[in-house]
């Protein structure tokens, strides 16, 4: 009778890998989240590639890489073509995040897993919903209703409620119950007793200090550095938590009339802020209220320089400044470059505001104590000059000539003629073969030195981590009298060429003019350029601090919320193996007896063993029912007889008199509340050893834990008037049916 529910994790269980799960309701397959890590490692998507054709709908929960990063790639490579559902901000900010990633990578490498076109194509067909919108699926999914609700972690962040036949499946990862400067807290607590709850264990071992203290320390550290003539770098995400940081800093700068320059630097910074300005209805109520009253938009920033390339950053006055730059992983993007530049100065400060993904530079720097030296690879795209340029041009000419020759040779084959376009010529392997010479030889050279090649002293990744993209070398360093024995080859500058830049796809409309002009030249012009990489050893002299601005509920709150929601079945995903196990044990003890933590590819059946049928209540029956009101509920005892007409069950009153039924006491007694109630009635009461002593001789206690089906309350005492009085008061806390 119940709806059959199965869950198969595709990624992101027992680890902090990106999130991606296959949820199937009566054969209708949802892909919930479609994440990727910052290295864009195709290995991680293996499980997804196997099932992508069976997916009927995609639900996205948050606008960051680990929740939606793989969408463009999956759509392009795996033939994923199901409709995608997300909230409006998840759609837009997710798009911006992907743009930023692409541009950051493209500027320094020959990133070709997906193009801007693929991103646009993937996001084009997203159905955008608002919070609390009941969206009824049609076709195969007839009868399924999906509803996004506030998650509180990122703007537009979503808890998905999927309902079929009155049974709720809730997918809630990365929620935050606290209200923040720009976001409302999650509404997860308002769902009670869902059939299935899928949640994450990411923060299950993490406790947070008070918000006030955290903010104070954060701001103090920044200010101290600035006063000490240092520069502050905050590696941030593109369009998620950074909004909160911007508001904190903006507010602080305004309050204290600070004049230190402060900049927000990503490839899409302007669009991000513009979008934030027009999304007030998605933010915390107070922001909307203040706008309605005064039309002051909090995201009209007075202190921030919103910039999209490094040139503009250089225009800022020399000296102390704060820069919020993407990516948070320090693996690429502006933050990477700035870090390399600033890390060598002990006056400077790098503030991490979120735990970085495994294997990234940022994660290595977050260990305690931080490494003193890190090796990084710098990439730069430079135009070809001199000899190289000449060679390249000659090459191009030769290709063209050959093309022309070919075309003239095979005139009947008109289609071939179009191959004169240089980018096509490159994508055609035949032509490359014939071209030979410079390009092919350079193509053959090891180009993938790339962004992955980051090494650190003393970094040992935990054995549980799975991070195939990060090449880990056995740490068998030797030391001699002069220090570490080094291999000079590691520091050799490796050069490499790149593919013809014209192969870059045409950029999506509107955004073009906002991209970094430099990179625009590089990316869009047919000016030949190449990527130059060199490895550097960076002395990390600057201070590093970590302040938790992740905006996720912490361990204690998660447990409280889960206990309150009390799902019939609970599935734990996303979180280190340790955290998952911890939360599982906790929940088994305190929340419910069905807790699952499946492995990748393991399908678990979380169909509720619930039986249900529908029955019509006849007027005659209902007219005799007296409801008692209990909070939101009204409750009554009914005795009825079933009448069947046209397969429809109807309950009618019994023909005979009502039979005896065991009486039911309904109510939830809290001893502490009852104590106050007694006090208000003039009966002194106090706790001793788990008992509530009421008046002179009466004791009250609760037997068994609250998890049990029926609450057991014991009242004991000698035969006195007091006994009956207190009993009367106790009865008043319950409803008798």
């Amino acid at each position: 009778m119940g709806t059959s529910v199965q869950l198969t994790p595709l990624s992101g269980v027992h680890s902090e890998n990106p999130l991606s799960y296959l949820l199937s309701l009566d054969g209708f397959n949802f892909l919930v989240d479609c994440g990727w890590n910052d290295f864009f490692d195709p290995e991680l998507l293996q499980p997804l590639s196997r099932v992508s054709s069976t997916i009927d709908a995609v639900l996205l929960s948050h606008p960051d890489t680990v929740h939606l990063g793989a969408l463009p790639y999956a759509m392009k490579q795996f033939g994923l073509s199901a409709p995608v559902y997300s909230t409006e901000p998840v759609h837009k900010l997710g798009l911006l995040t992907m743009y930023d990633h692409y541009l950051s990578r493209r500027q320094v490498s020959d990133f070709d897993l997906f193009s801007l076109d693929d991103i646009d194509a993937a996001f084009q067909n997203v159905t955008r919903l608002t919070y609390s919108q009941d969206y009824h699926l049609s076709g195969k999914g007839e009868g399924i209703v999906i509803t996004p609700h506030v998650a509180g972690h990122l703007l537009g962040g979503t808890i998905w409620k999927i309902t079929k036949d009155g049974e709720d499946v809730i997918y809630a990862v990365d929620f935050n119950h606290r209200k923040e400067r720009h976001l409302n807290g999650t509404v997860l607590e308002s769902f009670v007793r869902p059939a299935v709850l899928i949640t994450d264990a990411y923060n299950a071992l993490n406790n947070q200090p008070s918000t006030r203290q955290r903010d104070q320390e954060f701001l103090d550290a920044i200010l101290r550095t600035l006063r000490g003539d240092g520069k502050v770098l905050l590696p941030v995400d593109t369009a998620g938590r950074v909004l909160e940081l911007i508001l904190i800093l903006e507010q602080y700068w305004t309050q204290h009339h600070l004049s230190y320059p402060i900049a927000f630097l990503t490839n899409v910074a302007t669009s991000t802020i513009e979008y934030a300005k027009s999304s007030l209805e998605w933010m915390i109520d107070s922001i909307g209220k203040s706008f309605e009253h005064t039309r002051d938009n909090v995201f009209v920033l007075k202190n921030f320089n919103i910039i999209i390339n490094k040139k503009e950053l250089e225009k800022l006055p020399e000296g102390p400044k704060v820069v919020l730059a993407s990516m948070a992983s320090l693996e690429e993007g502006f933050s990477h470059d700035i870090f390399v530049e600033w890390a060598v100065d002990s006056k400077n400060l790098v503030v991490f505001t979120e735990r970085a993904q495994f294997g990234t530079l940022a994660r290595m720097l977050q260990v305690d104590p931080p490494p003193k030296v890190v090796k990084v690879t710098m990439h730069k795209r430079v135009p070809l000059v001199g000899e190289e340029l000449k060679a390249y041009e000659e090459e191009q000419n030769r290709i063209k000539k050959e093309e022309a020759l070919k075309a003239s040779l095979s005139k009947e084959d008109d289609l071939k003629a179009s191959c004169i376009v240089p980018d096509k010529s490159l994508s055609d392997p035949m032509v490359i073969d014939s071209a030979g010479g410079l390009i092919s030889s350079e193509v053959a050279s090891p180009r993938i030195v790339g962004y992955r090649d980051v090494l650190i002293d003393g970094f040992v990744p935990p054995s549980t981590s799975v991070s195939p993209m990060f090449p880990f070398y056995e740490n068998s360093r030797e030391w001699d009298d002069f220090g570490e024995v080094i291999n000079p080859d590691d520091y050799a500058i490796k050069e490499e060429d790149m593919l013809d830049p014209t192969s870059v796809a045409v950029l999506g409309g509107g955004l073009e003019d906002k991209f970094d002009e430099d990179s625009n030249d590089m990316l869009l012009d047919s000016k030949p350029s190449k990527v130059v990489s060199n490895e550097l050893t960076v002395q990390v002299k600057c201070s590093l601090i970590y302040k938790d601005f992740e905006g996720r509920s912490d361990s204690r709150s998660i447990k409280t919320i889960l206990a309150h929601v009390a799902p019939l079945k609970l599935v734990l995903v996303h979180g280190s193996a340790e955290a998952t196990e911890h939360l599982k044990q906790h929940c088994l003890k305190n929340v419910c007896s069905h807790v699952y933590a499946p492995q990748i590819g393991e399908t678990i059946d979380v169909t509720s063993d619930l039986c249900a049928y529908k029955v019509r209540l006849s007027e005659r029956l209902m007219s005799n029912v007296l409801f008692k009101k209990l909070g939101d509920y009204e409750i009554a005892w009914i005795d009825g007889e079933v009448n069947e007409t046209d397969g429809m069950l109807t309950l009618v009153p019994l023909s005979t008199g009502p039979p005896l039924h065991k009486s039911v006491l309904v109510g939830d007694l809290k001893l502490a509340d009852f104590k106050q109630f007694l006090a208000s009635k003039g009966v002194p009461a106090e706790f001793s050893k788990g008992f509530l002593r009421c008046g002179e001789n009466i004791t009250l206690r609760k037997v068994g834990d609250s998890k049990g089906a029926t609450q057991q309350v014991g009242i004991e005492g000698p035969l006195t008037e007091e006994y009956y009085k207190i009993r009367e008061l106790l009865y008043s806390q319950f409803y008798l049916l």
């Binding site: 009155g166 669009s271 009253h293 007889e641």
Partner: protein
């Protein structure tokens, strides 16, 4: 639970034997057979909703309000405001601040932001001209705190009323509200337009068909020209006039349509460089203030504008400058001025009209619906003379063009909308009586469903409809393990939340609801120093079932009375009584306590009597009691010697034999026989211990509790 209420059957709801509460009442308090002061009251199942809260622009003071005295404001649960126009929202501060209303108010984000500005402006403008101001700036600010926001498609539930809204396309933030009470759906369109324009989306077609559709009928059976044609006429008139050196006056309401016209003009000017030296003025500081709102809530606009936003703000006009007052106007050559109010009642548009109306080179373009009784309505008929504000009558030489851009649905849109929606009941509001009548006739003739009911209530005229509301319950958990067959019994807890019902076994209550069942174990100790067997003996006289619990040799002796209450001798000084609370057990335990206390009181006597009483003796005693009681009732009762328990009753010569043991009565007189039988039964139930099964009277009692 969840969203699936009982699905309303779409057509032909037969009016049923009306039970209280099944009546759906809809009463227009304003906008019934008129345009202005929209306010529609609806009530179903004791839930009440008020749609819109406007004023009538042609009246002032209290006369402009909807008929609020027809309703009791304190009973209204939810007030839904569709958009910010004065005739839909302007009596809201009055209603919130000056009446007993204590429900909740909802509107969309954009509506709320503009509402604040537009009403402040309204208060400022009408100051002085109206003595009895309905409210002041302070009231508006206070009302803002009570207004809650709702986003399009967001489903909210207040007090069992579920509602959500769809894009209405009329102005920025305009919404159509769908209200669902116990499965009966009512759609209130407010003002809507099914045509997409430069910045707004077209009104959506709701996913579900409502049972009742309250729809505007402003344009009745008229048809709009296609948008392109209208825009061409508009720009042509303006282009020709300015080309001939004339001035163009566009009286328009400050917000809503004006933004659309400005977009058209700005675009046209950009495309025609020869016009660049001709200024366009927009005389509304209010609109300037509202620009921030237009720039923020782009999510409520259409894709076209949002695409433009990516590049630059389309509301940042290049060829239009704002005009503070008439003094700032350098009126030397051709120009285009857009000024409010739209009806030319007063203010800047009227001042300009007075200045320009006598020159035949000038033109006045009326771009939208004009309310009856305003000057704009008058000049559309092109009279020879007009009266200026200073009282002089002058000839009207200016050309007057009426090109409607008002985003109200025309007949074509209304018809298509209703045809697709197929509501079984339609209520027309917001239209002049004549237009409404014509619309009704035409719709009746053309709608495919001939059973559609169309009503055109006047203000305060109540429409009543009956809906057979079916109450469906869902049995879940243990109770539902097997689907019952015809005639089988179902019993359990019926839990109602909002309008959904569930039948749950008490054991499952905590699983499916936040409620939990409880159990109170009671233990009371009573001082008692006598022998335990006495208690047992006494209890046996009252209750049939008194069973020893434990092996009496080892642990302290204990008794289970009536299967519910345990009596245990704790020590030589006291006895404890334990039971778990329910009405019967409480009663049994009370009687046990009483028995013990009684024993205590007469300890010596009972002690003697209690010892060594045999069953036989007890029988004999019982018989004696029966005899005595019968004697007191029937006077002449004799025991039949030799036969145990037999008695002879003789009254007026009629003789009856009674067997007090078996309860058999033999008598020729039926009346006497019946009376004797009843008497005997009652006596026996008083004398004999209470048997275990005979508790249905309690059960009955308990249901009454």
């Amino acid at each position: 639970m969840a969203s699936s209420g009982p699905a309303p059957s779409m057509k032909k709801r037969e009016s049923s034997g009306s039970r209280e509460g099944n009546q759906l009442i809809i009463t227009p308090l304003g906008a019934g057979n008129e345009v202005g002061r929209s306010c529609v009251f609806m009530s179903y199942k004791n839930k009440t909703v008020l749609f819109d809260c406007g004023i009538h622009l042609a009246y002032s003071g209290m006369a402009a309000l909807p008929y609020f005295d027809e309703i009791e404001p304190s009973t209204i649960d939810v007030l839904l405001v569709t958009h910010f126009h004065l005739d839909h929202a302007a009596s809201l501060p009055y209603f919130l601040e000056k009446t007993t209303f204590k429900g909740r108010v909802f509107m969309t984000h954009a509506t709320k932001a503009i509402y604040r500005l537009i009403l402040s402006d309204y208060v400022k403008v009408s100051k002085g001209s109206v003595e009895d101001m309905l409210y002041n700036e302070q009231d508006i600010i206070q009302s803002m705190d009570k207004i809650e926001v709702i986003d399009f498609h967001q489903t909210l539930e207040v007090n069992g009323i579920r509602f959500w809204c769809y894009t209405a396309g009329h102005v920025l933030g305009a919404a159509m509200f769908m209200v669902d009470i116990a499965g009966v759906r009512v759609l209130y369109t407010g003002d809507y337009s099914r045509e997409e324009d430069r910045h707004l989306r077209a009104a959506e077609l709701p996913q579900f068909s409502p049972d009742v559709c309250v729809i505007e009928s402003t344009y009745g059976v008229q048809l709009h020209q296609p948008r392109v044609v209208r825009e061409k006429r508009f720009t042509d008139v303006i282009h020709n006039t300015v080309a001939q050196g004339g001035r163009v006056l566009i009286p328009a309401f400050a917000l809503g349509r004006a933004q659309e016209l400005l977009l058209i003009l700005d675009e046209y000017w950009s495309a025609h460089p020869e016009l660049h030296n001709i200024p366009i003025y927009y005389a509304s500081p209010l609109a300037k203030r509202c620009m921030a709102v237009y720039q923020t809530y782009i999510n409520a606009m259409n894709e076209r504008v949002r695409a433009q936003f990516e590049v630059s703000n389309p509301f940042d006009f290049k060829h239009i400058s704002s005009l503070k007052s008439i003094e700032n106007l350098d009126d030397v050559g051709p120009s285009v001025v857009m000024a409010s109010p739209g009806g030319l009642q007063s203010g800047l548009s009227r001042q300009l009209f007075d200045m320009w109306c006598q020159d035949k080179k000038n033109a006045c373009v009326i771009p939208g619906y004009v309310v009856e009784g305003t000057l704009a309505k008058t000049i559309i008929t092109e009279p020879k003379d007009v009266t200026l504000s200073n009282g002089l009558t002058v000839p009207l030489n200016m050309q007057v063009h009426y090109i409607s851009f008002s985003a109200h649905a025309d007949y074509g849109q209304t018809f298509e909308f209703l045809k697709d929606l197929m509501p079984p009941n339609i209520i027309l509001v917001h239209g002049e009586a004549n237009e409404m009548g014509r619309l009704k006739q035409k719709l009746l003739a053309q709608l495919p469903d001939k059973n559609t009911k169309i009503l055109t209530p006047k203000n305060c005229q109540t429409v009543e409809m009956h809906f057979n509301s079916e109450k469906m319950a869902k049995a879940i958990g243990q109770l539902a393990e097997k689907i019952p067959k015809e005639g089988e019994h179902v019993n359990g807890l019926l839990v109602k939340k909002g309008f959904t019902y569930q039948i749950i076994a008490p054991e499952d209550l905590h699983i499916f609801t936040q409620l939990s069942t409880g159990n109170i174990a009671q233990r009371i100790s009573v001082p008692y120093e006598g022998a335990f067997s006495v208690i047992r003996h006494r209890l046996k006289q009252i209750y049939e079932s008194v069973e020893p619990l434990d092996d009496p040799t080892e642990s302290p002796p204990a008794l289970l009375v009536h299967d519910r209450v345990t009596v245990k001798q704790e020590n030589t000084k006291c006895v404890s009584i334990q039971w778990s609370t329910d009405p019967i057990s409480d009663m049994v335990s009370d009687s046990v306590v009483t028995v013990i206390l009684n024993i205590n009181r007469g300890i010596a006597r009972v002690g003697v009597m209690g010892e060594g009483v045999t069953e036989e003796e007890m029988e004999r005693t019982a018989e004696k009691v029966v005899l005595a009681l019968l004697n007191s009732l029937f006077d002449d009762v004799k025991r039949v010697a030799g036969e145990e328990g037999k008695m002879v009753v003789s009254i007026d010569g009629v003789v009856a034999t009674v067997d007090s043991k078996s309860g058999v009565v033999e008598c020729e007189n039926e009346g006497l026989k019946e009376r004797l039988r009843t008497a005997l039964r009652r006596i026996k139930s008083a004398v004999k211990p209470i048997p275990l099964q005979k508790i249905s009277p309690f059960c009955y009692l308990e249901r009454k509790l």
